[in-house]
Symmetry: D2
Subunit: 159 residues, 4 copies
Amino acid sequence: MTDPDSPPPAGSSSSLAASPTRVSIRVRYAETDQMGVGYHGAYLPWLEVARTRWLQEHAVSYRELEAGGVHLPVIEVRCRYLQPTHYDDELVVEAAAYRYRRSGIGFEYRVVRPADGKLVATAETRHAAVGPDGRPRRLPIALRDALERSIPDDVPVRR
Amino acid sequence: MTDPDSPPPAGSSSSLAASPTRVSIRVRYAETDQMGVGYHGAYLPWLEVARTRWLQEHAVSYRELEAGGVHLPVIEVRCRYLQPTHYDDELVVEAAAYRYRRSGIGFEYRVVRPADGKLVATAETRHAAVGPDGRPRRLPIALRDALERSIPDDVPVRR
Amino acid sequence: MTDPDSPPPAGSSSSLAASPTRVSIRVRYAETDQMGVGYHGAYLPWLEVARTRWLQEHAVSYRELEAGGVHLPVIEVRCRYLQPTHYDDELVVEAAAYRYRRSGIGFEYRVVRPADGKLVATAETRHAAVGPDGRPRRLPIALRDALERSIPDDVPVRR
Amino acid sequence: MTDPDSPPPAGSSSSLAASPTRVSIRVRYAETDQMGVGYHGAYLPWLEVARTRWLQEHAVSYRELEAGGVHLPVIEVRCRYLQPTHYDDELVVEAAAYRYRRSGIGFEYRVVRPADGKLVATAETRHAAVGPDGRPRRLPIALRDALERSIPDDVPVRR
């Protein structure tokens, strides 16, 4: 019996689902802090950029999703910082989705720096589907289909 | 003849209207950048905190204002940075309002660091009053009254 | 045998260590997003404010810590969002520290909204102690002592 | 005689110097506020992205500049918001530089939304050249040369 609340089973620490979405980000000066590195809080908007790109590529743009009355607020975020990043670093954020519980959606992320090939962060977010009133909503069919397609027979691995 | 678009006449560079609102801010680590100072963009939310406090003290909370269908989007901001600020600095942001054109509102700000008495920044923002549809709205009467009261017989000075 | 990397044992979901540090935060307009709630990424700076206050109350200010050549970069953050927050909400962020592995430090947080008594978020961060060169450093003795004192005979509970 | 402190002479409100640098930005969800628009404070990092790109294209990367001991802190920013922007809008930020006073540098910006061709904001920033100690420094020769080249015989226009 599997606890529906538990994370997906652990796998290799450096892989995501088969075909993740990739977006390229450059660390902005505004995103640095006085330690001289990319501020840890700045990574959350980067994950978001990759996540919304995944939605657009696989199902529906987040803009349309919200216009249709469905929001996907973050109910949990977890991020591990493996290497510092610096101003003007180019980073690639990879995102892959999985069905989370009955009507939610989860994303897994890897943040990689192509210049040295280093994995600089891994992360995971979980989202509920809610209406403008904050009450649970079903995921749109296009998104449910995309989730089915994106996870052939095994769930995405976990860092 | 006065250009309605021009700034209020210049005055002493270190004074605001008679009784400005004062809020205390502490520079967060998140608000520093790799130069080791308070990031210049972080000042705008600080001004906003002082501005919304002014509204609350003199007329109506911004929360109520929006609930009543009136938004005051920033249509112009200007900020001069006179001294660097640092992580954990306590700053006092002073704000005073003036009527801007027919249906708008302007704010002037001084950011002071009590520890050394230095004026670290001066700023000014201008706002239109619009409805949820983005179309011009009249300022609520309570706010118009407050603006009348806040400017006895001379306009607030300009940095 | 306990995995030094594992989280502290689970306890009551609504308590932290005996005497957490408490800071009061008000949700800034800048911290909202178009869903009309406090942006999930805005919570990380709030946790930071509580965390640095804990350090100051129990051992040494973060400013002095950095001046002494010790940084505590976040190596992992986890946050659960239980209730939405709104512009101008007053929130109380509670933080308590525990020793994390040999030379690191961990913090646990609860974010509570006094107006309705709701627990709006729980979070946890883990930090390495490093020097300006990014290499591991020992925690200063004052901080190690504080960690000993802060955890009488049981570790802080986990959400 | 020209007041060195005064803005450059006014010109057409919709043009910059001959060949501005252009960068493309997409409004992030994190950059929206509860009014449902791009938060006014989010524009400052966008300007910065365009400004640092200008430096890189014309003279030297900002990363190298700082490595060489020269910082260009913002001493003044001014931004006019002409049209609201929305989540996921693609925006083009144009930046052009001019020599500001003896040893400073100024930038002018236009933010345009290609989808509807609208000019959504104009802005201007001014910068001092300082060393790590905060004391005035001369601009590097490569940058001075670039400033000479970028302004053939007329100064950049001002909105």
